[in-house]
């Protein structure tokens, strides 16, 4: 029964995965542009963020339509509410990628003050977290959702490491302050992406159990 509704939900979930792919791609591109000092690519990334924003509104409209016309309850209601929250997090992650691209534009092709190792590593973990969280969402896997949040601790560690390193570079040579500050913003953006993925994980737990939880990795 309610076959049309089920079909709508499936479409919605496909769209959600498409949006997650778009965000992942944006993060990858922005960090690659940073490594390569590719201002032209950065400008494209900045421009492309509109597609992520539009996808978010598309999905949101579909959610509103389903709530208004199908009056979902129980798991179906929680699924739609979870999607509404997840797209908000994904959209912000897209903004963080755009933020990295803007910094690439500000750096304007200048050589970086240090070899970029930890920052790309942060981006790698963050995009892995996004992929795993969407997989856990699709599989309704609470255990995986909890584990993913532990990965955020690694992102945080790398962030603090990057900050410490950049501070010592600035102390040594104050001429690098502007440049280092830009890189700190990059690291901060990536760190925030990890936090946003933990929000998604909390939503997976809500979807499956109906419980609204916060800081699930710390609860463990």
């Amino acid at each position: 029964m309610r076959i049309a509704f089920q079909e709508h939900l499936k479409t919605l979930n496909r769209e959600l995965h498409t949006m997650a792919d778009m965000v992942n791609h944006a993060i990858d591109r922005s960090v690659t542009a940073l490594k390569e000092g590719d201002v032209v690519e950065a400008m494209k990334i900045k421009k492309d963020d509109i597609h992520i924003n539009n996808k978010r509104f598309e999905i949101e409209e579909q959610c509103i339509h389903l709530i208004a016309t199908q009056q979902p309850v129980a798991t179906q209601l929680r699924e739609i509410i979870a999607i509404l929250n997840i797209i908000t997090d994904l959209e912000r992650m897209g903004d963080y990628a755009e933020g990295v691209a803007k910094i690439v534009m500000k750096l304007n092709g200048a050589d970086t003050v240090k070899p970029l190792i930890d920052i790309p590593r942060m981006a790698e973990i963050a995009t892995d977290m996004i992929n795993l969280s969407l997989k856990a969402y699709a599989e309704r896997d609470v255990e995986s959702a909890r584990k993913i949040t532990l990965m955020d601790d690694r992102v945080d560690e790398l962030y603090h490491q990057v900050v410490r390193e950049l501070i010592s570079i600035m102390i040594e040579d104050p001429r690098t302050i502007t440049h280092c500050t830009y890189l700190m913003w990059v690291a901060h953006n990536l760190e925030r992406i990890g936090d946003r993925v933990t929000n998604i994980c909390e939503r997976i737990i809500f979807l499956v159990t109906g419980e609204l939880v916060e800081n699930i990795s710390k609860d463990k």
């Binding site: 309610r2 309850v73 129980a74 798991t75 179906q76 929680r78 159990t209």
Partner: protein
């Protein structure tokens, strides 16, 4: 108003179940303590809203029609000034359960009821209890509006009072206006109280039926799909009315419309083939039901 209550009370004083407000309260308090002990169903109603008072309670209520079981061992609390919705597919026993709450099955040939239905802690099926008094304390509104066809709007409302011998016009006038106002119908009919009840629209007739039920000042109002024959506008008026009325009476409503159950009730009970499957706060039951069958039913996967 007090005069009226005293009049009815004095007329009913020979019936032990016609409780005064004082004894109602103490009965409710005493019973609230026992509600946490209800077992065999999901949810822990007694724990979830401490401080609520029990108005009614069924314990192991079973209704047979001949050899067929309509409702099996249902134990449920019914809290004061709250709305309890009974939901479930056709034939699940929800109407049978509702009708057992004011001894309507007494009138059904072959029907038998076991277990107990407590009103303020006293079993309404005890042999010394007068079912007529019970039905005055526990009013009923049916699926289809039931105005007495030959009676005026006014006479429809005060019919229950006249039945117990109240003839004082000023008392009847006062009750008529109060009941019609409670049923949100007064403004629409105040200039034509002498017109036949059957001259009203369907939605108005249903509110007239509610006014008639309210005229005798019941403590509990049972509603059996009260809006199923009404248009959306009349339905929404009745739902608004339920919100208003629950401050004065305890309401149990049977509905096929799950959104209606979700909108109007504080607690919901889901029945399936005569069994109570799940009971709990409405918001919980519609967002995270504990039982798979509840989830399947409310999401439209069966029924």
């Amino acid at each position: 108003m007090m005069n009226l209550i005293q009049t009815i009370t004095s007329k009913a004083s020979s019936f032990p179940l016609f409780a005064t407000s004082e004894s109602r309260q103490s009965g409710g308090l005493a019973e609230a303590k026992t509600s946490a002990g209800i077992t065999g169903i999901s949810g822990t109603p007694g724990k979830e809203k401490a401080g609520k008072q029990l108005r009614m309670e069924t314990r192991d209520l079973t209704v047979h029609y001949g050899s067929t079981v309509g409702v099996k061992n249902v134990s449920l609390p019914i809290y004061d000034n709250q709305v309890l919705a009974l939901i479930g597919p056709s034939g699940c026993g929800k109407t049978t359960y509702l009708r057992a709450l004011n001894r309507m099955h007494d009138l059904t040939r072959g029907a038998s009821v076991t277990g107990s239905v407590l009103l303020d802690g006293k079993n309404i099926y005890d042999s010394e209890v007068n079912p007529v008094i019970i039905r005055r304390r526990i009013g009923m509104v049916f699926q289809k509006p039931t105005p007495f066809p030959t009676m005026s709007i006014y006479d429809n409302v005060v019919a229950g009072l006249k039945l117990v011998g109240i003839r004082n016009t000023s008392v009847l006038d006062e009750v008529c206006e109060r009941a019609l106002r409670q049923a949100a119908l007064f403004e629409e009919v105040k200039d034509r109280l002498k017109s036949p009840g059957s001259s009203l629209s369907g939605g108005q007739q249903q509110r007239l039926s509610i006014a008639r039920a309210l005229a005798v000042d019941p403590e509990v109002l049972l509603m059996d799909e009260p809006t199923s024959s009404l248009d959306p506008q009349s339905t929404s008026r009745i739902e608004d009315l339920i919100h208003e009325l629950k401050h004065q009476v305890t309401i149990v409503i049977v509905t096929h419309n799950m959104q209606q159950a979700a909108r109007v009730s504080d607690n919901t009970a889901f029945f399936y083939v005569g069994d109570l499957i799940e009971y709990g706060p409405t918001s919980t039951l519609f967002t995270k039901p504990k039982e798979t069958r509840t989830e399947e039913y409310i999401t439209g996967q069966f029924g």
